[in-house]
Each structure stands twice: as C-alpha cells, then as structure tokens.
Symmetry: C2
Subunit: 180 residues, 2 copies
DNA sequence: CCAGCGAGTATACGTCTGTTTACTAGCCGC
DNA sequence: GCGGCTAGTAAACAGACGTATACTCGCTGG
C-alpha cells in the first residue's frame, strides 16, 4: 500500500476529472459512480460526500466546461465559417467538446435533462442569438445549434465521416443558411 | 375476472403497440418492460416469450416503422423543400416520427445503439444518398440527416419553437446547402 | 502527547431492472 | 369427455444502481 496524501481538494479534483472524461465518453446514464470512483482511485462514497449526488457531480462537470461561445468571437461575416470549422472537427475527429458530446449521449434522466437544457440555453443559444441580432435571432440560433447537435449524433451513430475538402465549404453554406 | 381470449397474435400485437407508443414518448432506457406489459394489459413475462428480450421488442418496433424515405419521392428539385417541410413539423409539433424521435432519446444501451445505427443507415442515409447521386453523396446525405436529428434534439431540450413564416424558407435553404 | 476533527473506507440498504422458472388453466383434436 | 399442447400467470432471481451509515485512521492544534 502506498501512502496516500489526505487531500480533500485533490481527491475532489480527481473525481471531477474522472467524471468529466467518463461522462464525455459514455454519457450520463452509462457511467456509474462506481466507475467514476474507480477511475479517480477514490472511494465511491466520496461522490456523495463532495457533490451530494451523481447528478450534482454531473452539474459541476457541466458548469466547469468552457462555453462553446468562444467561436463567436471575431467578425460577424466570418462567423459561419468559424462555426463550420468547429463543426467539421466534430464530424471527423474524436470526442472532445464535452458539453455537446455529453448532451448527445444523455437523453433520459429528467434531472440531467434540466441541467442540459439550462446549459444549452444559456451557454449556446442565447449568446449566439445575442450575437446575431434581428427579429428571429432566436430561431436562427436554434437552427444553428441543431446542426451542431445533429452532426454530433450522426458521428456517434454512424462513425466519423471521411474528411473531404468540400466539407468546410458546405458547412459554411449551411450555417449561412441557418443564420441569414 | 373477465374472460380473456387466449389469442397469442393479438396479445403480441398489443405489446408491440404499447411498446411503440412508450418508446416513442420516453425513449428506450426510460421505458421498462413492466410499463409495457401494464400498458398492453399483459403479463411482463410475455415480453420475453414473444420477443426474446426488451431489445428484441425494440428492434421489432423499429423494423415496423415506415421509412422516413417517403419524403424522397417526387422531383429532385423540390427535395430540399419537402425535407424542410418535414423538418418544420419536427420543430414545432409534438412527437410523431417514431424512429428519429426514439433515436434522440435512446443514447445509451449498446445493443440498441447498434439497432439504431443500422436503421439510420439503411432507412435514411443510404436512400437519401442514392437519391442524390454524385461523388460525395454520402457526405451530403449525412449532413442532411444530421440536421434532422439536431432539430429533434433541440426541440426536445428547448421545447417546440414558436413557428415563423420564414422557417420553411430558411430550412429549405439549409437543406439546399446540405445537398448541393 | 494526545484529544478530536475530518479524510477516507467498507459495507449495507433499499429499490429497480431484465429475465427465468415453475405453475395454472383454457382450447382442440381425437 | 379428456389428454395434451399452449397462452397466460405469479413469483422469484440475480445483479446493478445510487445512496446512507458506521467505522478507521492520520494529521494537527493546543
């Protein structure tokens, strides 16, 4: 047995990190607190102690994620292209992008669904809508968000797409159509 | 106690119908075989007897659904608009559209995921790609499929969008961008 | 040096799940 | 009319889950 430092904050952080990785990879329902505890090399009871519950831990993971809204920075004209580049990554590459990824995978639990809805609204749709302006900004933002989610779902179910040179151009056109 | 007719086929059908409704409404994981049996007013053991397992029952439900590919009928030029109209329904109205709807809600179970993947591929993406033709038909079909799934996810999480007159036009433009 | 606070542990609880196993009872051919 | 196939039933099984509880042990302040 090695000597384990008794560091509450560090253990908490290990749990958080492990949970983030697992939730991102498998989604909320497929991940058990036992898996998280094992991955964090901690006791499963600590999840309850530090985060109240599994859902509490999940909420903290969600809260810790950086907003997707970072791609919103920059000129408005280039926005569709930046969105397209971001989406193209999601089409081809591996996981990453924890919020949306987790979201795709976590359909069931009502408590989690509420967390997701809140997060999606405040961190994605509303910033995007605010950036757009105009009367039906919300509808356009929703549509663009839908494209994001859909791309994730398709990649998850059908596997990564083989990249093509036209992808980004086509996606740019799609986002332009969404946001116009 | 009422007299119950001993009709294997009818009971099977009741189970199938109840399962279809429940899966469509709540998704695979949230529905238990006990719920299905209760809704069908049948014994829960019959699920196992007639369909082998819950997943087997789900597979049969999926197989029984009509293909979304019906909107593919008609002239190619009008295809984006027909897709847009179909998608607009999904944005505003309630459930319906069992395959995709169930798909949104059923993220976890690997066995189910395999069923979904198969179904999505053969009933949606491939027919659409075949309809399109061209070199990257598959990529374009995937993208259009992604828009469908995404719209469903957004509606589920954020609620139905308030309809706007421009919706169908915008969606048409989006699908044109997808399929071009 | 030692009392006590708190991090970490082990284990049990209660519930819910899908599935299986005996069992009961209705129908049909002989 | 009655044996046997079979639809339907009831109950239990085995396991997994999230959560709660009672405990051990190491560090630290006085």
């Amino acid at each position: 047995m090695e000597v384990r430092v008794r560091d509450r904050e560090a253990t908490r952080e290990r749990l958080l990190t492990a949970a983030r990785a697992l939730f991102t990879e498998h989604g909320y329902e497929q991940v058990t607190v036992r898996m998280i505890a094992a991955a964090a090399d901690a006791n499963l009871a600590l999840v309850g102690r530090y985060f109240g519950s599994k859902a509490g831990l999940f909420g903290e993971v969600l809260a810790g994620e950086p907003s997707v809204a970072r791609v919103l920075d920059g000129d408005t004209a280039g926005l569709p292209r930046r969105l397209a580049e971001y989406a193209a990554q999601r089409m081809h590459s591996d996981p990453e992008s924890p919020i949306l990824r987790t979201l795709e995978r976590s359909a069931g639990d009502p408590e989690v669904q509420a967390l997701m809805t809140e997060r999606l609204r405040t961190a994605v749709v509303q910033p995007l809508a605010a950036r757009l302006g105009g009367d039906d900004a919300h509808a356009r933002a929703r549509l663009a968000t839908a494209v994001f989610l859909g791309i994730g779902s398709v990649r998850r179910l059908l596997g990564p797409a083989d990249p093509s040179a036209d992808d980004i151009d086509r996606l740019t056109a799609v986002f332009e159509a969404c946001l116009r």
